[in-house]
Symmetry: C2
Subunit: 132 residues, 2 copies
DNA sequence: AATCTACTTTATAACCATTCTAAATAAGTG
DNA sequence: CACTTATTTAGAATGGTTATAAAGTAGATT
């Protein structure tokens, strides 16, 4: 399994649950956005197999900390994650409540002119809200 | 009271509670960011007066819907609001967990090249995360 | 000014995503 | 295999937010 090494390198034991979650998250042609609830459903449907909710939370947070997932800053009652960890942005369709990727190349270069003493920029995230 | 007209125009009855919340939110030299909890505390301290939590939620949402407040898209367990309703952006200091305004003029013009059929852009919000 | 109606406030309960807990299980190591 | 430490798990706890339904208030009408 290709994920065993990946996990070991990050200091995460390659458990059955983590490997299964890797499959669901990363064995896809396209990247995607999801909530924890989405993921739990996807696991059940795709693997016909239940992983404890707490484990899904733990794993997603562990993966995020290791940089395998990104959290998407958006106001919602649920937290959205993205398997696309490249430097990119999002459209948010307010009506459909759906996120759409916006590649870096689709947004001109962003130049932050203001500086904050003693702080450096970790990330720049653009959210473009869409209406009809 | 200057807020009576403002509220009436929006179709909101100028109740005692709403007027008091207006004072706390808008009778300030500078705009500011707050959570509902922040606002409840501010009301108690500033007006020495308790407004029911449900009313604070209702009022903030009503004001947001009318465009007197903006919600700040950020991943947090609490929702952040902004009394600065001008077109602007935010720094988020990850260590201090504090928001800092980033005026539109401090961010170069943002040009979204990708178009989504049948949708138009309602807003563009930039979140710049800061680390030490 | 009394009356009426729709809106608003309120305390409290309900909701629900997320986190915590502590016991059982599994992984890695010698 | 034995041992240590990490992980999984079900269920409880937490906490921000929303729903409920009863009491109160604003504004219009008479």
């Amino acid at each position: 399994m290709k994920y065993i090494e990946k996990l070991r390198k990050s200091g995460l034991r390659p458990t059955k649950q983590r490997l299964q979650i890797c499959e669901v998250l990363f064995d896809t042609e396209k990247t995607f956005h999801f909530t924890i609830n989405d993921l739990v459903n996807k696991i059940q449907k795709q693997l016909n197999n239940k992983i404890s909710l707490a484990t899904v939370y733990n794993t997603v947070h562990a993966f995020e900390k290791k940089g395998y997932l990104k959290q998407i800053p958006i106001n919602s009652n649920q937290t959205y994650f993205d398997t696309n960890i490249s430097d990119h942005h999002h459209f948010y369709d307010l009506k459909e409540e759906k996120l759409i990727d916006l590649e870096n190349s689709d947004v001109g270069p962003i130049n932050i002119l203001k500086k904050i003493e003693g702080k450096k920029i970790k990330s720049i995230e653009v959210l473009v809200k869409l209406e009809d």
